[in-house]
Symmetry: C2
Subunit: 274 residues, 2 copies
């Protein structure tokens, strides 16, 4: 019997939902060695049968039933996959049935609907928000601040850009950012363009040694990356945030997902993603 | 009875998984009017009880049990939420039990593990990939092409940048891009920096009227946005892709998620996300 376990992520669409839930479930089993096989766009019986053969070969080789994480809407495709020698965790079927029963409404059984385009207004909002973020990134585009839902402020390399991109791409939120660093000759105070939008400001702070490490990776052995400079900028940033009563979060030990969710919750922003 | 239905997305972490699966399920019920309430970071009994009160108020007001989409790892928190007058669709509990039974391993019951940081190497890969994409965006950084997993080529505004950002942020893939447009005086041929990396190239094409609409939104009534110019550039792009035997996809009717998943599958790229 093999020590590593094979997981198949199978979907008639992109499989992004299957990967997302699967990843979340697997974090509960941190010590299991996994081989991950992604099989998106399984939208015909022919493709389904090919995957079933693959699954059965793995079963024969490993001597243990592989696990399938599936999001398949179509009954005949799901039944076909279900014929394999595997443990099938279906992230859609049972829940759709529960909703149908509770709401007394039939579902549409559209294949691959979740991440498809189809003139989806939420999708267009997210792409517009992404373009907005790209055009306002890093202090460019003062004149676009009035359209922002939120403007992140923080020292250079404290995680503003990844957070803005995440807010835009996932929540459809117009997120701008404004970077502080001594290099720009910027004083640690609010320029007029930000003062006008004070209610939209949210600060990111970060531990000095962490910032020092990040900057050193980018520009090693420079004044910009030095611990003393990082400490000084962060002290000035912190003073600014407190003085101006700007809410902020410590980005040091938080993922972009956690920072983004916290910002949305604390600022009461409207998500346009779902 | 109310005509719209309230959905609560409840998690002891970011709730991103709950939102993702919930969104996918709800695409199967396109005609249902929904009110969505996001309640992330419900990580104490006190917070859980406050949410239960909210849920019960909605039940009283609407006369129909609201639906809960939950990803709660902790048993006592889940039990508390389960006391509310609601239909609870739990995206974790049952599946974790199935995996525990099948693998004969206990899960770790860590709260909020899915999108937390915790020196997660996959997370760091994704952020590194994102920084890579940002620094190579739009033809900047030829010297970084050797590190790319994939290099997207296409005319200006065909969707390269959002796709690269998605590939980076979600799959941890190093995605660069190279834009063609007549404005740059660029001939529609491969520069030496791309010839060297020919096996990494992937093309995006797009319908001329769609490109015309996108460019017109950005730079209305310019030669750049004109339909004739869009048609000419796309013709030249198409010729280049065929001549150089570069695989490509039509981005017109596909979402960034679909384009990205297709690229990963077709190019056989290794996902570093899960």
């Amino acid at each position: 019997m093999s020590t590593s376990k094979t997981i198949f992520f199978i979907s008639d669409g992109t499989g992004i939902t299957a990967a997302n839930v699967g990843h979340s479930l697997l974090t509960q089993f941190p010590n299991v060695q996994l081989i991950k096989q992604f099989r998106p766009f399984i939208d015909s019986l022919e493709k389904a049968r090919a995957v079933v053969s693959e699954i059965n070969s793995v079963y024969q080789k490993e001597g243990e039933k592989p696990v399938l994480f599936t999001t398949i809407v179509d009954d005949s495709l799901r039944n076909e996959i279900g014929k394999s020698h595997a443990i099938m965790l279906d992230f859609f079927h049972g829940f759709i049935q529960q909703l149908e029963t509770h709401w007394q409404i039939s579902s549409s059984s559209r294949i691959g609907g979740a991440h498809a385009l189809e003139n989806n207004p939420a999708y267009n909002m997210r792409i517009d928000a992404l373009n907005y973020t790209l055009s306002t990134d890093d202090g460019l585009g003062y004149q676009l601040y009035p359209q922002a839902d939120v403007i992140l402020v923080g020292v250079s390399r404290s995680g503003k850009t990844p957070t803005c991109l995440y807010l835009a791409m996932h929540f459809g939120i117009y997120a701008a950012n404004y970077a502080y660093t001594e290099d720009d000759g910027r004083y640690f105070e609010l320029p007029p363009a930000l003062k006008k939008e004070r209610h939209k400001l949210f600060g990111l702070i970060i531990a000095a040694d962490h910032l020092h490490a990040i900057r050193s990776k980018r520009k090693p052995n420079t004044d910009y990356a030095s611990l003393a400079r990082c400490q000084r900028e962060l002290k000035n940033m912190n003073d600014l945030l407190l003085r101006e009563k700007i809410p902020f979060i410590d980005a040091t030990v938080r993922s972009v997902e956690e920072i983004s969710t916290t910002i949305v919750t604390q600022m009461g922003l409207t998500r346009r993603d779902v």
